[in-house]
């Protein structure tokens, strides 16, 4: 039941669900390419590994902070849902955290520990990245299906647990296309081609499965006028994937002629697909945080506390976006080995 949206208790939860969605979406895009690069590491030579890690070195830490913000909003704005969601996902969350810990510390250990230990830390870097991405995929599957423990939902979660890492690998390869050159850049094209299928399968699987979870979600998609209004979403997403595929087909020749034109296309298209996927999910779920069980209004904190947070967020978020863009500008261009000064 939707409360009066003109009262703070009505509209504040909507605002915070939006903020949380934006933060988690940014996390998936930003840490997605980091984790993707981490997963691709074993396929590269030792020098390429250094370039790959340095292409994400200045960014990963802030990227991961979007997860803290997203989960933080869930915790502070919807405390009742935070407990239910994360308790239901306890083991995959723990595995994801172990993965993120291994990946995060490996950034520093791999260059600071003895040279003889570097292969070990490189391996832990990749293992951590794969573990975190797989766990996130599994959680996505479980979350969409409302934490029902049946064979079908678990099978679906296993499917998403395969597809999300593939999506991240595609993102990571797209990032490397922009940030590297030469043989590594060419390799990135082939990596992207290989994981394109996984991203496609994931998008189709999530799109098909979500409406089947409940009658309510089905009706939100397949009744007039929504069936017409929403039809462009999957069409645009599939078109973007096809544009990415076409670009990946042409890039080897262009790159062979030192022509960088369109090297950013696969990355941008993948981001577009993720944004559409997020929007679709938000459409299906709204106004629920746990499918058909806990709505944003059931779970929200007191309006006066949410207002205090919102006031801070409105001041600080633009500043965060500003200096994030500044840092991306400082480290723009092709990655070169980074140095400590």
């Amino acid at each position: 039941m939707m409360p009066d949206l003109t009262t703070p208790a009505g509209w504040l939860p909507v605002v915070f669900m939006t903020l949380m969605g934006v933060a988690l979406c940014l996390y998936v895009v930003l840490d997605g390419y980091d984790l993707g690069v981490g997963m691709l590491l074993p396929a590269a030579t030792d020098e390429e590994k250094d370039i790959m890690v340095s292409s994400i070195g200045p960014f990963w830490d802030a990227n991961e902070t979007w997860l803290v913000l997203g989960i933080g909003i869930l915790l502070v704005a919807f405390p009742l849902a935070h407990g239910v969601v994360l308790s239901s996902l306890y083991l995959p969350v723990a595995l994801m955290l172990v993965g993120l810990i291994l990946r995060g510390v490996a950034f520093d250990f791999r260059v600071k520990a003895r040279a003889a230990h570097r292969p070990l830390w490189n391996r832990l870097f990749s293992i951590g990245s794969v573990l975190a991405a797989t766990a996130q995929g599994y959680m996505l599957g479980k979350y969409i299906t409302g934490f029902n423990d049946s064979f079908a939902t678990t099978a679906f979660a296993v499917l998403t647990a395969v597809c999300v890492p593939a999506l991240y690998a595609l993102l990571g390869a797209g990032w490397l296309l922009i940030k590297t050159q030469g043989a590594l850049q060419l390799k990135a094209v082939y990596w992207a081609r290989r994981f394109w299928w996984g991203a496609l399968a994931g998008f189709v699987a999530v799109s098909v499965a979500s409406p089947l979870v409940s009658q309510r979600i089905f009706d939100k998609w397949f009744t007039l006028p929504f069936v017409v209004l929403l039809a462009p979403l999957p069409i645009v997403a599939l078109t973007l994937l096809l544009i990415a595929a076409r670009s990946l087909g042409r890039l080897p020749m262009r790159l062979g002629q030192a022509n960088e034109y369109g090297a950013w296309v696969p990355f941008a298209c993948t981001i577009g697909v993720i944004l559409i996927g997020f929007y679709g999910l938000a459409w299906s779920l709204f106004p629920y945080l746990v499918v058909d069980r806990i709505s944003i209004w059931d779970a929200a904190s007191a309006p006066e506390s949410l207002l205090i947070i919102l006031a801070g967020a409105l001041v600080v978020l633009p500043a965060i976006l500003g200096y994030t863009i500044y840092v991306y500008r400082v480290f723009r261009g092709k990655a070169r080995p980074l140095y400590y000064g």
Partner: protein, 447 residues
């Protein structure tokens, strides 16, 4: 173990692991800024050498702090669902402000600090160092506001079993916040001072006589000598503050069972909770009354005044003695050091060895202090508002499995961290490129 105990052990393990790294980064950021500014002022290579080594230790510590902190943002809800459900209206905004004002600032400008040389001007690089230092301190501020509020909650009212904030200024500057915040900032300063001094002493013992070793040793020792008396004074005031607001914690710290006048300062005892008395007491008569009431005949409340509402005595009692004992050792070693190092003299090897032994003393003292204050708050999670047992997870979640996993990982990471820090120190801040020249590409290792 029951669910509450498991939840507590897991959270304690995680937060204990986590605090080790902020304890270093909070103050090390300012020490790095000091090295940076000394270099800008003097253009002496030794300051840049010190900066170059310690920024690596900083980056490593920061990464460990980040990943263990991410874990915490999940465990707040999974291990303590009752915490946010009851006090979320106060805790939520404080945590949100920490993320918004501190985490992004630190994480983003750390990139410029670590990798920005040659890409940004000298001034912007210094500014990035300042912003990272401000970020780590802001983060400490918000989390200590929250922790202090849990010890001395004010500025709220209870409506239907949930806390609602009524006065944010009162919440921010709650009674124990100023002392706890100062105490923790000084603890971080001391942790870093002894880390820097200890590793530099170790390098000196190995025959490394480069000027940056001496510069770092001097900085560490003098910083320690300056901070430890301040810490002792602040600690005393913090204790008086605790006596006022949490007398049961003080009774446990001092091992006082029955309310008494002229309570002794126990140097050692073996508290026995079954018989509710101490064995093997060695104490200074009227010492505790003198320190806490500034009057030899001052009255101190005993644990028996708080039936079923006082903390377990042994960890609080011994944790406090461990912390104070290390503090006294810090006082002795740092002041001796200032004496030995005066006028550029070569310090004796025995003292250098003592400093090496003290390298991680700040960690032990910080953990001991936190255990005193957090265990001392039991059985309350939020003093007088919410009991720990009522906030723990009622759901069936597999804490045991994940706990074993975390413990294994943390143990391995601490070993790796300590050995890598010593390895970095052995290599030293080698390679002195001129940072003012963007065209100059240093040949240090890529990352």
């Amino acid at each position: 173990m029951d669910a509450v105990t498991l939840a507590r052990v897991q959270f304690a393990a995680n937060i204990s692991f986590h605090i080790l790294f902020p304890a270093i980064t909070i103050a090390l950021a300012w020490v790095l800024l000091y090295f940076r500014l000394r270099y800008t002022r003097t253009r002496e290579e030794r300051w840049m050498g010190a900066y170059r080594l310690w920024v690596k230790v900083f980056a490593l510590s920061f990464a460990l702090g980040v990943v263990s902190g991410v874990t915490m943002s999940f465990q707040f809800g999974t291990n303590w669902p009752g915490f946010m459900e009851t006090v979320g209206n106060v805790a939520g905004p404080l945590l949100a402000y920490e993320v918004l004002t501190a985490f992004f600032l630190e994480a983003t400008f750390l990139a410029i600090m670590l990798f920005g040389i040659g890409r940004v001007s000298d001034r912007v690089h210094t500014l990035a160092t300042v912003l990272v230092a401000v970020g780590t301190s802001l983060s400490a501020f918000w989390i200590l506001v929250l922790n202090s509020w849990m010890q001395t909650p004010v500025g709220f009212q209870m409506i239907d079993g949930r806390v609602h904030a009524t006065d944010w200024l009162a919440i921010l500057f709650n009674p124990s916040m100023p002392w706890r915040f100062t105490h923790m900032m000084l603890a971080s300063g001391l942790t870093v001072a002894f880390l820097v001094a200890g590793l530099s002493a170790w390098r000196m013992l190995r025959g490394d006589t480069r000027p940056d070793v001496r510069a770092a040793l001097g900085t560490g020792v003098r910083l320690a000598a300056l901070l430890i008396p301040l810490q002792i004074v602040v600690g005393d005031f913090h204790g008086l503050n605790t006596l006022e607001h949490q007398p049961a914690k003080i009774a446990a710290m001092e091992g006082i069972w029955d309310t008494e006048r002229g309570a002794p300062l126990l140097l050692f005892a073996w508290p026995d909770e079954a018989q509710r008395r101490n064995h093997l007491e060695v104490g200074i008569p009227a010492g505790a009354s003198l320190i806490l009431r500034h009057d030899a005949q001052g009255e101190l409340q005993g644990l028996n005044d708080f039936p079923d509402a006082h903390p377990p005595v042994k960890p609080v009692f011994f944790g406090f003695r461990l912390m104070v004992g290390i503090g006294l050792l810090m006082l002795a070693t740092s002041w001796l050091g200032v004496w030995w190092l005066r006028g550029g003299r070569a310090p004796p090897r025995a003292w250098l060895r003592a400093m090496v032994a003290m390298t991680f003393s700040g960690w032990v003292a910080t953990l001991a202090g936190w255990y005193v204050t957090e265990i001392g708050r039991q059985p309350w999670l939020v003093q007088g508002v919410l009991r720990t047992a009522d906030a723990a997870t009622p759901r069936e979640i597999p804490i045991g499995t994940s706990l074993a996993l975390y413990l294994l990982l943390y143990a391995a990471l601490i070993v790796a961290y300590i050995s890598v820090v010593f390895y970095l120190a052995a290599k030293g801040g080698a390679q002195p490129p001129d940072v003012r020249d963007p065209a100059h590409q240093p040949q240090a290792e890529p990352t």
